[in-house]
Amino acid sequence: MNAVLEAFGMVATTEVAIAILASAAYGMVIGALPGLTATMATALLVPVTFYLSPIAAIATIITASAMAIFSGDIPGALMRIPGTPASAAYTDEAYALTRKGQAEIALGASLWFSALGGIFGTVALMIMAPALAEMALSFSTFEYFWLSFLGLMCATLVARSSPIKAIAAALLGLLVTCIGIENPGGVPRFTFGFTDLLGGIEVLPALVGVFAVSEIMRAMTAAPPPPIPHRPLGSILGGQWALTRRYQKQMWRGNVVGVLVGALPGAGADMAAWIAYANSKRFSKEPEKFGTGHPEGLVESGAANNSALAGGWVPATLFGIPGDTITAIAIGVLYMKGLNPGPTLFTEKASSMYALYMVFIIANILMIPLGIMMIRASRHVLRAPRAAAMPMILLLCAVGAFAIGNNPFAIVLVAVFGVIGYVMERNGFPVAAMVLGIVMGTMVEQNFVTSLIKSDGDLLPFFERPVSSVLAAMTVAALLWPAFVWLLRRLRRPVPA
């Protein structure tokens, strides 16, 4: 109980309150602008978190990401352009509702079920994480190796792309982490004589490059979104209670799917929304109405993408394995603020964890009034010309990367990773897999090499301990799954002559 009170004291400060409000407004605006994603919003926040207390820093990330995931639904419903990839799954549905003159139902459902999903996800995080922490305490390097490896494999499984390209992308990310002197021998590895490379590639400039600069690069060759038509909006939360009662089962299913997909390494809010929408259609009593402006799918997937956000924090805080791209960034901030992820975070820094839960709840409650304001103001916010927003983001990328260590080399990294991310995306390589590789590389190598040293170069002990053998089996299954799916498809559908 003491820890809870202490946590309350940490959250109830002016600094945290200002951090939450400011990052909420920021997240709402960035999420609503098409082409600016929740991950980009989070990555650009990191330099600012340097100057905040640990709890305020985490609060900005949690709040901004939650708001951005919701507000990505706004342009989706009004203009049929998803503001963030997490809204893409049900954009057509929401827009169909708008065309039927029920924009307020679509936006209200997004808002209401986003907030409920976020709160459910937080409760799940509160229950799941400490229970798993107990188990994680008995893990050795073998388990950690398989766990991180399995995380990488999961990321390649859920990518909507060729699994081989996803694995290649993850390997590229791992290769990036080989650079520097932080390796088992302490020798300069792949530094090519550059002193700037001795310290290794920092994760944050790489993330800013991949998620922000490559997005700006794409905008350079894509047509700007059309102007938003004026539509009068009725009461936004008006019909939501009736929807909640009518689609209660769908809401719970969406919540649960969201948490599980979110907790899966590498799969985040966008994947959760796709899966929840597909589930909703499959199990619906009236699947023929889907796509014509039917709120059922909206309820389920809107709930899923926000609960996924909290689910992503489960592996992030427990093992330092990011559940999605947003927690990949958050892990960096956790380390920076002395809240190193791991099972001991729940015992030694319990009050910080309680504070984190509180921020999650506050952010999701705050989402409702702020979301209503944002929906009402969306006509004006969405009028902001892309030709002004994108250059400002570019400038912020440069200044933000520089601010991390007052080192101009970070800006070079941002540019390089922007190009890498852009080229990879254009050729069907999922960048999320590479990012996961970059974030987890050091961990994979450390546990791999330590385990090998412990076993005298023998591979057998990797499979001997009970938990590690289960994890190994899961990893192998994940590796072979695409081949299995391919075979199944071949058998089902006879090859056309």
Partner: protein
């Protein structure tokens, strides 16, 4: 910048060979079998394998069909085609090269102006952005967050 699978696969294979070879030349830790070489060599091997599979087109059936290319926006981009995509990284490198000598405010103004014009902004919007943007960013990062942005030839008024 769309490359064929054969091309990207070959590039990955070459990268894998380089990683393997570079890793194998690293000095070992005395008295130990496993050292800094193990990890890059494993990754290099994996990259060669993946590159080969990609080059021969395995796994292509899992890829989502490519979206229809969007029409080119007005402005500069229309004239130089796909190359316009590479303007943002070029501007970032430009910042690294000149910011120290020229100072933050003029450098940032040039970047904003160039990027806005390339995205099809009118002169009024682009100039307004180039005037107000750098000052706002400088105020927040230099004054509030105390990031040592270079003063150069044009120091900020605060």
């Amino acid at each position: 910048m769309h490359l064929s699978d054969r091309m990207t696969g070959t590039i990955l294979m070459m990268l894998g060979v380089l990683a393997f070879w570079g890793g194998s030349r690293l000095p070992a830790v005395p008295g130990q079998d496993v050292g800094p070489a193990a990890f890059p060599m494993v990754i290099g091997g994996g990259l060669v394998l993946c590159g080969a599979l990609i080059a021969i087109g395995i796994g292509r059936s899992f890829e989502a069909p490519e979206e229809a290319p969007a029409e080119a926006p007005p402005g500069l981009a229309a004239r130089i085609g796909g190359l316009a995509a590479f303007l943002p990284p070029v501007l970032l490198i430009f910042y690294v090269l000149v910011a120290e000598r020229l100072g933050f405010l003029p450098t940032a103004a040039i970047i904003l102006l160039a990027a806005a014009l390339a995205l099809g902004a009118g002169w009024r919007l682009a100039l307004g952005l180039a005037l107000a943007g750098p000052l706002a960013v400088h105020l927040v990062f230099y004054k509030l967050l105390r990031v040592p942005l270079p003063a150069g030839v044009l120091p900020a008024p605060w």
